[in-house]
Each structure stands twice: as C-alpha cells, then as structure tokens.
C-alpha cells in the first residue's frame, strides 16, 4: 500500500479539525487556531534529550538524591 504524498499544512490543519468533529467555526476562531497550529506543529525534543527517553504517561516525581 502506498502512503501517497504528505498533506500540506493547510490540508493537515483542516483534517485534524474534521477528525475532532470541530466544524462550523468562525473565521476568527479558525485564524486563531491556524496560528496555534503553525506555532506548535512538529514538536522538537529539547537539545540533549535522547529520543528513547522513557515516556512518563503517569508522572511520578523523582525522589531527592541524598
């Protein structure tokens, strides 16, 4: 099965809203959300953070090192 071309950011933005069932939004809401999408797209790990760091789905604070 071929994956096809990657969606453009515009296509991806609208696809995500549609998947969440968010329809009928005002133009100003859409503009605000598009800016948030552009700002947040493609989260990058902080420099030095190894890509295999164990995720923390239920966070437990780290005990103080004595």
């Amino acid at each position: 099965m071929s994956a096809g071309p990657d969606p453009t950011p515009e296509q991806d933005f609208h696809a995500r809203l549609a998947t969440a069932g968010l329809t009928g939004l005002s133009a100003s809401d859409l503009a605000w959300l598009r800016a948030a999408y552009d700002k947040g797209r493609g989260y990058q790990l902080p420099p030095g953070c190894p890509p295999t760091t164990q995720p923390a789905p239920v966070f437990v604070p780290i005990a103080r090192e004595e």
Partner: protein
C-alpha cells in the same frame, strides 16, 4: 474580638478560636459582611454560602465550647475555587457549559477540611475551566485585582487570589496546571504553593490536564500556607514531606536561611520579555537571601522555552481530551478564549504528545540533577505585570509570560511569595521551588525572606 477580622491571618483566627477569644460565628459573620460590602467591585466569589457557613460555624463553636477542639482549621472560614466539588452546590468551572451542575459528593480536600472543622464561606471565580480567561463573555464577570480593579488578578484561580488580597478570607483553595495558583498569588500579593504532584488529592476536582494538574492553598502568610497544606495533603505523603500537625506542622521552617544553599535560575528572567522593575526586585530579593546567610549560586538548565513548550503540548492535548465531546456539540457555549485554547489540543498529534512526555521525563531529571546540592531554587514568577482586563490583545500578549510551567513539568513544589511593589503599586512575586516532597525547605526559605521583607501588613488601599 479585637480589630477588623478581614486581615486576620489563619494563625490568628486559630489562636482566637482556640482561646475562645472569638467565635467562629463572629469571624464568619464579619467576613460575610465584608464580602457583601466589597465583592461587588471584585467579583471574587461566584457563590457565597452564608447559611451553611453560619451553620458550620455554630457547630464549630459548640464543639470548641465542649472541649473538642480539632486543630488549627477548626472554625476557620475559607473559600474554594469553583472547580472543587462541594456536595449540594454547583461546580460551574465559571462556564455556561456547567451552569446548574449541582454535584452530590465532596472533593477529597473538601472532606478533609470538613473533618478539620473548617467553614466553607463560598466558591471563587476562575478562568473558564481553569484555562480561558479573564473573559468578558461568560455568564459571570471575571475577578478584579484589589490592587487595581482595572487589571487582571492573575489566574486561573483569580477569585481566590483577589479574595485573600481584599481580606475576605484567610485561606482559599486553588488549582495549578501551568501556574494557576502562583499567578494570582503573584498578581494579588499573597502566598500560593503548588505542592509536589499528587501530594494533594484531585479527586472531585474538575480536570484540566491530568498529568499537570495540582491543587494547593493560597494564604496571606507563609506560616498560614504551611498550616493549610498540612491539612490538605494525603495522609500517606505526610511523612515523606516531613509534615506533622498543629500550628507548626513543618519542623524547622523557622530555622532561617543561614546554612541553606539557594540556586538561582536567573536565565528564566533575564530575557527581553522581562519587565525591568520585576528583574530588579528579584535581584534585590536574591541579595537579601544572601545577606540572611544562605549560599547563593546560579543554576543552568535547558532554556525555559523547552519547559514551556513541553508543558503546552501536554496541557493542550490532555485538556482537549476532557472537552472533546462538548467542543463538538456545544462550542458556542464556551467563551472565546477558553474555546480556542481547548480546541487547540485537537491539532496536537499523538507523536508530538509522546515526544512531550519523553521530554518531560528528561527535563524533570535535568532540573533535579541541577538542583543537587541546593535546598531550593528561586526565580521569577511573572515576567510582566498583569494586563488590563479590557485590553484583550494585551491579555493575550502577556498570558504566557511567566516562569511557572517548568515546575508543573517537573512536578516539584513551587511557591510564590510577595517581595515588593512596582512604582504603580502592583505586587511583585518571587518563586521559591524545591525538590520533590521538599515543601519544608521551600517554606523555610520563604518564611525567612518574608520576615526580612516585612510586607505582610501591606494591604490594597480601600480594603
């Protein structure tokens, strides 16, 4: 009863009640009168529970008269952010979505305070669902700052901060997902702590972001805050926190700063985004900390943006998960600011969410490693002064200019303490953060600095 009880501290209330120099009914009545007289211009309260408060106060007085004094909270009035469930009362989260939502059971912390004999006097206003505010398009108006009614009192626990600063209660409960206890504490010139993650139960608290949410107390003094937290924490974590009971539940918090090592996260408040008055005030506080005998040393960690971005991704994704069904069916019933912030989580990919959880583990370890050898760290709370509520663009511009999210990401305790005022008369706060379960050290440093600065008796004009 001597004086106006509006600015009695929790500790003073406890002393008066224990010694039967005042009754809970007298204190509660006096605060209800202040609320009736002053809250019309503050909107700190969404609901005032006068009848049930007076009934609880009468019960407390009768118990104390019989010699059944339960401890420092017995008969003391307090308020809770309208995100904590109280049986028989609405929990609205300041949103039309939950208007008329009468709940049948208490949040765990409300039960704990009931058992301690505390008197709930009302529920305080917030940003819609603890995220979208201050907003003028909700069923109830936003809280105002007692230091300047035109400006934001911080949030999301806005009413809790405003009620304390105005002398309407000695204790208010808040929640903190990205700074929502410490922001109003800073903006209103009071003390607020976000304790270690899971130290205070979130059962019966409407969620915003399950892995970042914390609950905790706001008070006017550090000593009061320690007493309140001791009554809120889960019993099984008390020993881990080295926390007892009584008027000084955290041993050694009065030992002063001498002998402590204080790290300074100065890079968090050294950029162009920082108001120079705030930076100067923090620098003066750090000098004061050194003059009180602490060893002060700079700390280096990842840029604050790494913590803030990580926290934002987690918060948006998790909060959208809570609200997804309502956003589909009733998005017009949210205020504009809350609706947009909650919808933004729909744009977060699962890949980005998992990466943010990976980054979180790394950043939490990085901070713990940097803090080795330090008892606490200090840094800014707000980087700018609160915006005028009527200026939507300025509210938006200043919304995230703070150094609070790093400690939600790390899950470690962080307290905001008033350290001064701007030329315009607005409070300035300092964050003091500790190791996981290191609240005692945070309180120790904060108590010493609070004593040296002598700001406890400074109240907003007109209150």
């Amino acid at each position: 009863m001597m004086g106006d009880p509006g600015f009695f501290t929790l500790s003073e209330c406890a002393r008066l009640l224990r010694g039967r120099e005042s009754s809970s009914v007298e204190l509660t009545t006096a605060l209800l009168e202040r609320i009736a007289r002053l809250d019309g211009e503050l909107n700190a309260f969404l609901l005032v529970t006068a009848d049930t408060a007076l009934a609880a106060a009468r019960q407390a007085d009768a118990e104390i008269a019989r010699g059944n004094y339960r401890g420092a909270m017995h008969g003391v009035p307090y308020a809770a952010k309208d995100i904590f469930d109280v049986a028989g009362l609405p929990t609205t989260c300041h949103s039309k979505i939950l208007e008329g939502n009468i709940v049948s059971a208490n949040a765990a912390v409300i039960t704990r305070l009931n058992e301690a004999g505390a008197v709930l006097i009302g529920k305080t206003s917030l940003h819609e669902f603890a995220t979208g505010g201050p907003s003028l398009d909700l069923p109830w108006p936003p809280a105002r700052n007692p230091w300047n009614r035109e400006v934001h009192p911080g949030g999301s626990s806005s009413g809790s901060g405003a009620a304390l600063a105005a002398g309407l209660v000695p204790l208010a409960l808040g929640t903190d997902t990205g700074g929502s206890i410490r922001h109003p504490a800073t903006a209103c010139g009071v003390v607020g702590i976000k304790p270690t993650y899971n130290a205070v139960s979130l059962q019966g608290v409407f969620p915003l972001s399950f892995s970042l949410d914390h609950a905790g107390p706001l008070t006017r003094t550090v000593a009061d805050n320690a007493i309140a937290l001791a009554h809120l924490i889960e019993p099984e974590v008390a020993s881990r926190m080295n926390c007892g009971v009584g008027d000084t539940p955290f041993a050694d918090i009065g030992d002063g700063l001498a002998g402590m090592t204080v790290g300074v996260l100065d890079e968090f408040y050294s950029g162009a985004d920082v108001d120079p008055e705030i930076a100067a005030c923090i620098d003066a506080a750090v000098k004061c900390i050194a003059s009180l005998g602490a060893v002060v040393k700079p700390l280096r960690v990842s840029p604050m943006s790494a913590y803030n971005t990580c926290g934002r991704v987690l918060l948006q994704a998790e909060s959208h998960a809570v609200h997804a069904d309502w956003l589909r069916a009733r998005h017009a019933d949210y205020g504009e600011r809350g609706r947009r912030r909650l919808m933004a989580g729909a744009l977060i990919s699962s890949t980005d969410y998992v990466k943010a959880q990976q980054a979180r583990a790394y950043l939490a370890r990085e901070l713990a490693y940097a803090m080795r050898g330090c008892d606490v760290v200090v840094t800014a709370s707000s980087l700018v002064f609160p915006a005028r509520i009527a200026d939507a663009a300025e509210v938006e511009r200043t919304y995230d200019k703070a150094a609070r999210m790093p400690f939600n990401v790390s899950g470690t305790p962080a307290l905001s303490l008033p350290i001064g005022f701007s030329k315009a008369g607005l409070p300035i706060g300092l964050q003091i953060a500790g190791h996981a379960w290191g609240e005692a050290q945070v309180y120790r440093a904060a108590l010493a600095l609070e004593g040296a600065l002598g700001l406890i008796d400074k109240h907003p004009p007109g209150f």
